[in-house]
Symmetry: D4
Subunit: 253 residues, 8 copies
Amino acid sequence: MTTTEAIKLLEKFRAGGVGRDDVLRAFQAAPVVDLGFAQVDTHRALRKGFPEVIFGAGKTPSQVVKIAAQLFAGEKRVLVTRVTPEHARSLRRHFKRAVYHELARCVTIENKPLPKRSGTIVVVCAGTSDLPVAEEAAITAEIMGNRVERVTDVGVAGVHRLFGRLETIQRATVIIVVAGMEGALPSVVGGLVSKPVIAVPTSVGYGANFGGLAPLLGMLNSCASGLTVVNIDNGFGAGYAASQINALAEGGG
Amino acid sequence: MTTTEAIKLLEKFRAGGVGRDDVLRAFQAAPVVDLGFAQVDTHRALRKGFPEVIFGAGKTPSQVVKIAAQLFAGEKRVLVTRVTPEHARSLRRHFKRAVYHELARCVTIENKPLPKRSGTIVVVCAGTSDLPVAEEAAITAEIMGNRVERVTDVGVAGVHRLFGRLETIQRATVIIVVAGMEGALPSVVGGLVSKPVIAVPTSVGYGANFGGLAPLLGMLNSCASGLTVVNIDNGFGAGYAASQINALAEGGG
Amino acid sequence: MTTTEAIKLLEKFRAGGVGRDDVLRAFQAAPVVDLGFAQVDTHRALRKGFPEVIFGAGKTPSQVVKIAAQLFAGEKRVLVTRVTPEHARSLRRHFKRAVYHELARCVTIENKPLPKRSGTIVVVCAGTSDLPVAEEAAITAEIMGNRVERVTDVGVAGVHRLFGRLETIQRATVIIVVAGMEGALPSVVGGLVSKPVIAVPTSVGYGANFGGLAPLLGMLNSCASGLTVVNIDNGFGAGYAASQINALAEGGG
Amino acid sequence: MTTTEAIKLLEKFRAGGVGRDDVLRAFQAAPVVDLGFAQVDTHRALRKGFPEVIFGAGKTPSQVVKIAAQLFAGEKRVLVTRVTPEHARSLRRHFKRAVYHELARCVTIENKPLPKRSGTIVVVCAGTSDLPVAEEAAITAEIMGNRVERVTDVGVAGVHRLFGRLETIQRATVIIVVAGMEGALPSVVGGLVSKPVIAVPTSVGYGANFGGLAPLLGMLNSCASGLTVVNIDNGFGAGYAASQINALAEGGG
Amino acid sequence: MTTTEAIKLLEKFRAGGVGRDDVLRAFQAAPVVDLGFAQVDTHRALRKGFPEVIFGAGKTPSQVVKIAAQLFAGEKRVLVTRVTPEHARSLRRHFKRAVYHELARCVTIENKPLPKRSGTIVVVCAGTSDLPVAEEAAITAEIMGNRVERVTDVGVAGVHRLFGRLETIQRATVIIVVAGMEGALPSVVGGLVSKPVIAVPTSVGYGANFGGLAPLLGMLNSCASGLTVVNIDNGFGAGYAASQINALAEGGG
Amino acid sequence: MTTTEAIKLLEKFRAGGVGRDDVLRAFQAAPVVDLGFAQVDTHRALRKGFPEVIFGAGKTPSQVVKIAAQLFAGEKRVLVTRVTPEHARSLRRHFKRAVYHELARCVTIENKPLPKRSGTIVVVCAGTSDLPVAEEAAITAEIMGNRVERVTDVGVAGVHRLFGRLETIQRATVIIVVAGMEGALPSVVGGLVSKPVIAVPTSVGYGANFGGLAPLLGMLNSCASGLTVVNIDNGFGAGYAASQINALAEGGG
Amino acid sequence: MTTTEAIKLLEKFRAGGVGRDDVLRAFQAAPVVDLGFAQVDTHRALRKGFPEVIFGAGKTPSQVVKIAAQLFAGEKRVLVTRVTPEHARSLRRHFKRAVYHELARCVTIENKPLPKRSGTIVVVCAGTSDLPVAEEAAITAEIMGNRVERVTDVGVAGVHRLFGRLETIQRATVIIVVAGMEGALPSVVGGLVSKPVIAVPTSVGYGANFGGLAPLLGMLNSCASGLTVVNIDNGFGAGYAASQINALAEGGG
Amino acid sequence: MTTTEAIKLLEKFRAGGVGRDDVLRAFQAAPVVDLGFAQVDTHRALRKGFPEVIFGAGKTPSQVVKIAAQLFAGEKRVLVTRVTPEHARSLRRHFKRAVYHELARCVTIENKPLPKRSGTIVVVCAGTSDLPVAEEAAITAEIMGNRVERVTDVGVAGVHRLFGRLETIQRATVIIVVAGMEGALPSVVGGLVSKPVIAVPTSVGYGANFGGLAPLLGMLNSCASGLTVVNIDNGFGAGYAASQINALAEGGG
């Protein structure tokens, strides 16, 4: 209920066109309607330039296609994460412009990419087994309108590989660091740069890794100031957060 | 040595106002002289505008005073976190300008505050018991040169309290959300704003809270896109990360 | 034998329509029928208000059919939970009136539904992946004689969706809230209503979700007063408890 | 603004005694009033007959006294849980009618008890060490207007003690079962009654009890249908939920 | 090395018949060699009347057959646990007298059963899903020469089913109680009998059961005095321990 | 309720001497009342020759004295475990014959010790820090009428110390093995004897010991057949179980 | 950047040959460039005589072949661990000299084995199910140029089997002990020898083994001085560490 | 009796300077001295190369003094770890040569230090709060006859500090790396050197550190080949293992 509508209601009540209890109920319900959450949502969409993202895991291919169709109709830009090859096949059959990013387990659909922001998001990846998570982060950031650079296979067991790419990393606006096993890489990177670092633990490892618990705890306990962490294997979340931060750097935050 | 000071020094050197060895010494100087590491540190300080922070827990008052004295000599700006009243007394005895932030368990020492950045960091706090962690985040962000607004006691069990402060929250450049118990507040806030949200779980709670594990897991699993998380009770880390992000928004990132 | 049937039997006995020994036999009928692999608790309807429910998981289709037959003979009302499609096929082959609720993974068999109680149980579901658990709760409550309303896909990341359904939720006698990931929805709902809220964590999520541990801990630590919790994915338990509570509201509790 | 006040305002408006904008402002007023949440809150208060409860732990005696004074001014009824003897002393110094329930670690303040509901809440307690938690549940339920009966020291290791009190338990409208160690009592009670059973695990035990984790897991995994569970040591939550349910039985639910 | 041998060695050394290093090595090994462990083993075999048991899991059918053949040659009595149908087929092809206990996942091979001891081991089983573990316990106890009685499907949610079998249970020399879910049954049984009770948690359950952790913790924390516990699903261990205890009762312990 | 009583009740109902609801309630309670649990308890007491044991932890000295007085009046034999020096002082002030076993943290009170059984319980203890738990086991077994021999400080890191005491251990009827740290001793002992071995993990250790979790898991996973385990630090439970087993060996089981 | 280079840079800057920003950047990046990590790497390779090892798990056969080809070109010696039969087939098709160690799940490729060091690494294995991990350790140590002796199936439940092989174990330079279940064997071995012992927990077991957590905790808490531990199932890591230690004994450490 | 002493004794015997019975008695001397509360392992030096070490925690000062006296009598070299100031005072009162290493929480007693081995053990320490554990490692290694160098405060958040000390680290025979928080330092060090690296996690940290679990898991999952790990805070164990390895390098292993 907008202010205009509220005024109308009160006038109608004074004029006898509506009962006291109806007015009362309208205002009592207000908290919700008053807030105009749809509008808020629209604002968000406007500002972020990106619609809801489809999480493919646990949905049937036809469910995914239906949701994607509905979103694409309104937004002309769709990201589906955690897709199986079956999801991908169904989406590509339905959407000519669907692109299947196999390693990232994502499908993107868009008529025209968003213009790129000036800042760069660097996705640093510790080992080759962490690549699917790193790619999910990269694809997410890219479709949201960011330039992304990838720095791959620079785990701390051979820390010189990291230093060889340091210049690239130090030029970034935001850095995403993806690592499994002991998850030490974000601490080392975080100690070398002053830009926001988002750490992504992966479930890569075995034994006392406990499905990514080891790197998750490592990253949360990092002695590098200012590190923030997302859920295990949550490349999407890291890419999304990095895009939100990069948008700030743009001045359009 | 700030960037501005470094530039001045180089210009002075070019102009002949200072000798080569003095420049060399300035860049090589201090914290780790023997190793030549001062440059790195200076580099970091330049970009971040803030020196090393002293973690008070587990250090004696006299150790803290000594480290603070050394840092203050070079940087004129010191933050000590996790201080006891004893730490605070010792620091105030030694430094006239030391301010003891009792609730935040921090001491700050500075001759002149840094100029404030234009963006605002909002620190949202779920319950009154979470305030020490929220204040640690706020004090950290403030001494690093950020404007901070506090929104307190807006836990999800009375979600209307949050909506009453929504405008403040939506005006922020970066939002820190501090919550114990089930840690649901960051998810709700994250769903209402498009700016970066940093979630801080606290150890407030009992029983199956397991010292903050419950809100930590809740925040890591949040369905709100783009949320990032720091360690349990790590207000400092959240304030530091928020400052790094806010610096980007400034254009000086 | 339900309480109603027991009352009828006693009245019939007083009226002379049935002999003393028949009454005696009915009440003394071993409270347990031994099927070799299972002791069917045929007294449970008298003791608990609803006959024993068959947990399908880990039983062969033929075992399930045998137990169902035994229960149906006495009670004319059977609920089988956690069924596979194989269980469902076997049950429908044997019982003409068997209904397979595929999403809920349940089969119900009854000649005539119980009369509905006046109060309403509302089942609120956070995300589409939580639907199987929510439906198990709904089907359980329905076969036990309750009106059920479903409110779906109202997770806290878009809290306005919840407010749009608030009127429905506030009209309920009992509310079941089903949520995976961080499990924050019950806290928000619990803060908005004064009726009993039963929270059901689901195993939906990944990474640090740990098979539903994250939402379970979240719900147990909820800051919303009066929330109670059942096991992860235990839609049946929530529906059963809600029915027990709704029966109290009926005055026939 | 209560419903009565809202009605008065609307009538005054219709009668011309107050302008449209004033009405609008009253309903929209302030962050909170704007949203109508105060009203919602009033509705809740009216229906539940009970104001916010003060959690004493982690608050100073003077903070507790201040919050209690504010609540008592409006509500004439205050419950403070998890109090230390210091909290209790301060409260009794300030409020003549404050009663310190030492075992329950609660203070209650009220001019006149609420009229009792007809149904009875039975609080069953496994061992003498679980009594503080059981009493917290009982005191909570009592100040909220419920009759409470206590059944104490009936742990499953001597299950006959439980059966000796079965009649009392079966007469209850709602049953709270408090148990530490292995937490098996709620399962046994839940199998014997048809009324809602709320299980409260306690941190009583040692070794592999892990601070109440053992009984918590036991209760969540109970094979007794319809059991719901609250957090470890959360007597207050159980008493609160039981009161909500008992209110339904009253017909005023 | 006996004292006599030690003296001989020293004299030989003095006489130059053995080197210094050899003497040194002999004395360094001494504490161990003195003990003659092979004999100990022989004693054990004589007293226990039962050879090594083969754990089938993780062994190939042909490995199992080879070990069984070697054991059978010497002992004429073999127990293989955790067998797959493939193991069973291979064993039955090779040993005419091999019996496949499908539910117990065991194969037994013996020419003539051991004479039965006079005491009885009762295996109590909470639910039908716990039967494989209960049967493993029963088959183990039987092949070791014990009479076994089974009491099935008497979980605590319908505690009257247990009481119907109480006489059988109280006649036992040793009682094994097998339960999954919350694992409360051993506590109830342990409170009703004075004989040794061995509790076996099973991995039956879901959600917060965590693969049997819930009943394991429940049993370890049991308030019934004198309960002992074996590993999750370890029916074999319980049957073995019960047989050792029953042997004592025989007087041949 | 016997059949005769049931018949009487039904006739009385038909005759109008009792209401329908009373009949209903009588039959609903039946399965339980039939069992006469007080008697069962008496049987237990008679057979076990030992009354309830008082767990001192969490009870006030005066509570302990009162319970002890009540038990001593009936039984002339009392065991109080987990006592503080204050408990001990109070008990000795009240009971002339109270003996305070300081290391075992127990008080025993008896006029005349029970006659000793012929078999021997050997309590094997890995390290000196485990002694309090071992002594609790020993004192429990002794007051219940068993001969106890102690074998101390024979941890596996110097396995020869164990072998030096092997003869004593092999003469036992039942063996209790108490160990903290990695808890390997019960496995080694269990491999050397054929008698029942009860393993007691202790909370002795640090770091990844996690309060006794390490030895608990070690003992539950022991490769020594027939080992059973009690809760961490539960010397009492082990002594009690050992006494139950030793009683069987006596022929009086 | 050496001091000489820094001086040159400053002079060049003063002379106008390089801009202010370039100087600034050079000092900011310096500490890294100074270290020359590629050289460090070359040193490492020279000293260790062994190239990078390929972890096969999670890589496709063709990826493994490509990496192996690249390594083999430079090093003439390749170790691939955690291979599937598919990996092995691909590697043998491509490399004539590839040897598939099926039990160890390894492939080795070398033209000529390294000369053997004089010391011996003994790999002690508790049970037959632990053999794959033990073999991975042995194969790793062998290809790195060490003599390896295997001592198999000497678990603590029959500790005499260990003593029968003690002489072999005591002759070793380094001992690797591989054990699952309770993981007690390294403690016993560690108490009997003075040489370095590396403990490898395996995931062999079930129930409360929790995928190797039980033996891991047991080994970390070992009371045998000087034991070190590697990750669950990490035979490769143990073999590698043992080789590093054995190289020291060689004098070429 | 050390090996050297044993050799001397045998030579003296061959030379006639000591009788056969004296030699016999020396070797047969019970390997264990019984102090009532402890079996002192007087044979350990022969078996393990260094006498038994006293773990002070949980022992009274007088118990520690008694054990130390017994060991010193035979060995002239005693190490007591985890001492309180009270332990230290008692030991220094009794032994003139006792040295209290306050930071390391150790007391050492020796008439004459062992001759130093040629190799060097480097103890690398991540942060100042980890120093007590690092010192325990260093003191242990020193009393066992090793040269020790300390490298302090080189955590990965400022990885340049580590590189400044790299030369020292690379010169070591064995490296001990002590780190709390995320425990990443051993991975980085392990990637830079070819010598054995022993990682020691400490309990330094807060929140999701869980008493050292985070660095423990990090170290176990390290991607640096050949890293081995000891228990949380187990500086002693690391120093002991390092000494065993350094002894090998000496050729006297």
